[in-house]
């Protein structure tokens, strides 16, 4: 990773990654205390992907997200307290408690929503790209999805469509090696999802998804290409989820050595070391940032916990516009 960005930008990137990590740790803690209804899919370990990509996006750019979507929301600039409130099922959440952890959206910042149907967000990003083209603006749309999702028809149909129409879409595959208990090698005859780009005539690139600056650089190039009207890119970020697939999954299907190897490649730890080594930040500044982020998370939790649940009858609202 090279450090060509301003200190301000580097700090912003670091803070965003920490926000996601601390947020997810808090969600896990609340889940363990039975305060989170339903299920959770934590993003811890994959922070560099969302932050590296969204670091290149403007507020009016779009993203689509997945069941593992808290990190995407936060990276795109969603308010922590309203994300947390949604996860707890509160009226003050982004979706008034209708969506929950797997279905958060904030249209005011171009976050077009998370879908719990694997692969379903990909064509929606293509639609956003089509709309950008028809409206003739220089926005872009990025979609996040797992390597598991890249075996859905929607992935193939979407990339082909974006390619033929040269749409401003960035396809971001978060390859964390497993889809639930299924290792990639058991469901794909190729090593790199990015290789599939060739079949559709678009650029495909593999990056170290635990190196936030590598992701940033790859996304920067893809975003520039898209903004210039030169079409879509597929970026595959090799990464790893720190926890199991969802709530109670202990991920026993992952070899211990593999988990340890990836934990050692923790994207936040690596970036922090880089910032310290290059004297971009000193230890005291890091600690200050950590303190600030912790306080933000506490505030978000307090807001969410103190917020009311929606009234039962609200279930019938918003079915039609």
């Amino acid at each position: 990773m090279t450090l060509t960005l301003t200190k301000e930008k580097l700090v912003e990137i670091y803070m965003k990654m920490l926000e996601i990590r601390f947020f997810e740790e808090k969600v896990f803690e609340l889940y363990a205390q039975n305060l989170v209804p339903g299920t959770i899919h934590l993003y811890a370990g994959e922070e560099a992907v969302a932050v590296g990509v969204c670091g290149n996006l403007r507020k009016d750019d779009y993203i689509t997200s997945t069941h593992r979507g808290h990190g995407h929301c936060i990276a795109k600039g969603a308010e922590l307290k309203r994300v947390m409130a949604e996860i707890l099922g509160k009226k003050t959440g982004y979706c008034k408690g209708k969506g929950g952890s797997m279905h958060i959206a904030d249209f005011s910042i171009g976050m077009l929503g998370a879908t719990a149907v694997v692969g379903a967000g990909i064509p929606i990003a293509v639609g956003a790209g089509l709309s950008i083209k028809l409206r003739d603006t220089d926005q872009v749309a990025a979609c996040f999805f797992g390597e598991g999702a890249s075996n859905q028809g929607t992935f193939h149909e979407s990339i082909n469509m974006a390619a033929i129409w040269k749409l401003p879409v960035i396809f971001v595959c978060e390859n964390n090696l497993y889809a639930m208990g299924t290792r990639q090698s058991r469901v794909m005859a190729i090593k790199n999802v990015a290789d599939r780009a060739t079949a559709y005539g678009i650029p495909g690139e593999v990056v170290d998804g635990n190196d936030v600056l590598a992701v940033y650089e790859a996304a920067q190039k893809a975003v520039e290409t898209a903004r210039k009207g030169e079409g879509p890119t597929l970026i595959e970020c090799k990464t790893y989820r720190h926890k199991g697939h969802s709530r109670i999954d202990l991920a026993k299907y992952r070899p211990k050595e593999e988990v340890e190897e990836w934990l050692a490649k923790d994207p936040i730890k690596r970036f922090k070391e880089k910032l310290l080594q290059t004297n971009t930040l000193v230890e005291a500044e890091i600690q200050q940032i950590e303190k600030e982020v912790s306080a933000e998370i506490e505030e978000a939790v307090k807001f969410a916990m103190e917020s009311p649940y929606p009234a039962p009858e609200e279930a019938s609202e918003d079915v039609y516009a």
């Binding site: 299920t39 929950g100 598991g148 075996n151 639930m180 794909m188 279930a315 079915v319």
Partner: protein, 324 residues
């Protein structure tokens, strides 16, 4: 008699049929040795039958069902699992246009002995994409059978019938039923399609219910018994074929009918059953037909919202009291 869970009953049916017939095999996402199915129905089967016959698939619902159809018309008996009922939407063409129509469209040349297992139902706060009850979609497709077992006994017996049959069967399960225990004999038995089961006899009101709603109907019946109202609970067990005669027979006895189902009310399962009663048994009715179903909304996430939309015992009791 021994008691086992609904989950174990399904697993026993799969195991027995796989032992009996080497053409039976399972496919689906994470059905194999690493997970054993999202709801653990297939746990342990890969260990016994191997990864070839208990086959983990990519996340490709359309190809899972398509591949099952292709295998079914060429000599195999696939049992495909779709992890959540909502996700059958991704495979709808293969289910409704291919599996269901091949026998008819090709003039009866080939059979499609295929089972699609999937869980429906709300109640665990997993929101709009993982909680629906969509049985009615599949009832609407000629050529498909639709099974809706509510007990471990029915689950095992119906699944065995489904696997041995000659037609595509859409086999509905319910998330909240998996841990429920019930009596299941050690010896082999089958539950035929198109034969309803009277889950409780009664004289004043007929309540037709399926899947998890059968249990809520039985709870409601118990409570109403204390108030001197005798409820008969009829469980169709398969929606296609539908045992119209059993429903009509019960209506002739009670003169009143409540239909309870967990899907949205409009054009739902209860609409079809109500229409059958209206067409064929209206003269026996002493009160209007009542339906208890979900309001026409997606399933919301937040617990108070979700509880509001799922039909409960109180709604059933209220409906009964409106007609007696």
């Amino acid at each position: 008699m021994r008691k086992i869970s609904y989950r174990e009953a399904l697993r026993e049916a799969l195991r027995e049929e796989m032992r009996r017939d080497p053409t039976v095999f399972l496919l689906g996402e994470d059905v194999g040795r690493y997970w054993g199915g999202a709801f653990k129905v297939t746990e342990g089967l890969a260990e016994e039958f191997g990864d070839e016959r208990v086959r983990d698939t990519p996340i490709s619902e359309s190809a899972i069902i398509g591949a099952a159809v292709g295998a079914a018309i060429t000599g195999m008996r696939p049992v495909a699992e779709i992890m959540f009922g909502d996700l059958t939407a991704l495979a709808m063409d293969q289910i409704a246009n291919q599996a269901a129509k091949i026998h008819y469209m090709f003039g009866g040349q080939v059979k499609v002995p295929l089972v699609i297992r999937t869980p429906f139902g709300a109640g665990v706060n997993i929101a709009a994409h993982h909680s629906q009850s969509l049985e009615a979609w599949f009832m609407h497709v000629p050529g498909l059978y639709v099974a809706v077992p509510s007990t471990p006994y029915d689950a095992k017996g119906l699944l065995k019938t489904a696997i041995r049959g000659s037609n595509p069967v859409f086999f509905c399960e319910h998330k909240l039923l998996y841990p429920i225990e019930g009596e299941v004999p050690e010896e082999e038995y089958m539950v035929p399609f198109g034969i309803a089961d009277i889950k409780r006899e009664g004289a004043d009101v007929t309540v037709v219910a399926t899947l998890y709603m059968v249990h809520k109907a039985l709870n409601a019946a118990e409570e109403l018994e204390g108030e001197g109202i005798s409820v008969e609970v009829v469980d169709p067990r398969t929606l296609a074929p539908l045992d119209k005669q059993a429903i009509i027979k019960s209506v002739k006895k009670t003169g009143r009918i409540i239909i309870v189902n967990e899907d949205c009310k409009t054009a739902g399962v209860s609409a079809e059953i109500a229409a059958v009663v209206a067409e064929e048994a209206i003269d026996y009715l002493d009160a209007p037909i009542k339906r208890v179903a979900e309001p026409d909304t997606p399933i919301p996430f937040s617990p108070p919202l979700e509880q509001y939309v799922i039909p409960d015992e109180k709604a059933i009791i209220n409906a009964v009291k409106e007609v007696v």
